[in-house]
Amino acid sequence: MLEIPTHMDFVGQGKAERWSRLIITLFGVVGLIYGAIVQQFSQTVYVLGLGFLLSSLITIPPWPFYRNNPLKWQKPVITEPKPQSGESSDEGKKKKK
């Protein structure tokens, strides 16, 4: 079966948020300057909308480059099954937690 990974790692999430903020802010500032020059506030809004679309395209889908820093999981510790004596009740408590 085809398995498409849809997650971002933690570094990727940070990157996505930073890029989205940067792109939208940049387009907003450029739009404000452009709108002030041509004296049309609608142009400012359009430029900001363009930044919104670009930012959505770049940072919303979980692109593969947001998965370059996978977590290093510890290897599962295989414990020997202990002989059932008086500790069985203790294990039961841990599982409940």
Binding site: S20, G28, Q40, F41, V45, S55, S56, T59, I60
Partner: protein, 179 residues
């Protein structure tokens, strides 16, 4: 920021915040501008009649008839925070019963992009120039003012009066012939 939905939410919310900031900047860039400009107003024909005011009391009130010339250039009023102007012309005068009477005689809407250079000749008023008594006949100090409301994209709704005004007087006899 761990799912598509949270990222989408954050992007939309931040875009709207930036839009609010930009709108506020647009407001700040125009809030201290001086929107006053000059207007040339002239009356062409002035007469006054004494006719029953059926709209109010059926008593005979003074009704003024005025045609006017108006010349003004409103190009400097328009900027990126002005969507349209609402121009209106008022007559101000004093009567024994009221120290200040204001009557709107005429108005006009100018959208941004329409011709802001006005040059009207012999315009009729749009609205009746009723006095609430008999204060128009022989009134020697009636002032015509041009004012406008600015409808902006964001911010205040300034009401501006043009610097030019015109003072005229009504004749001392009622007109009898039909206009």
């Amino acid at each position: 920021m761990h799912t598509v939905l949270t990222r989408g939410n954050a992007t939309v919310a931040y875009s709207l915040s930036v839009l609010a900031c930009l709108t506020f900047s647009c407001f700040l860039s125009t809030v201290f501008l001086d929107y006053r400009t000059d207007a040339n107003i002239n009356t062409v024909r002035v007469l006054v009649k004494n006719v029953p005011d059926y709209g109010a009391s059926r008593e005979k009130h003074d009704l003024g008839f005025v045609t006017f010339d108006l010349e003004t250039n409103l190009t400097s009023v328009f900027n990126w925070n002005v969507k349209q102007l609402f121009l209106y012309m008022t007559a101000e005068y004093k009567t024994p019963s009221n120290t200040l009477n204001q009557v709107v005689l005429w108005d006009k809407i100018i959208l941004r992009g329409e011709n802001p250079v006005l040059d009207f000749k012999k315009m009729n008023t749009k609205y009746y120039f009723w006095d609430d008594g008999n204060g128009l006949r022989d009134n020697h100090n009636v002032s015509l003012y041009l004012s406008w409301n600015i409808i902006p994209n964001a911010g205040l709704l300034p009401s501006v009066q043009a610097t030019g005004k015109h003072v005229f007087k009504f004749p001392s006899e009622y007109a009898t012939s039909s206009i």
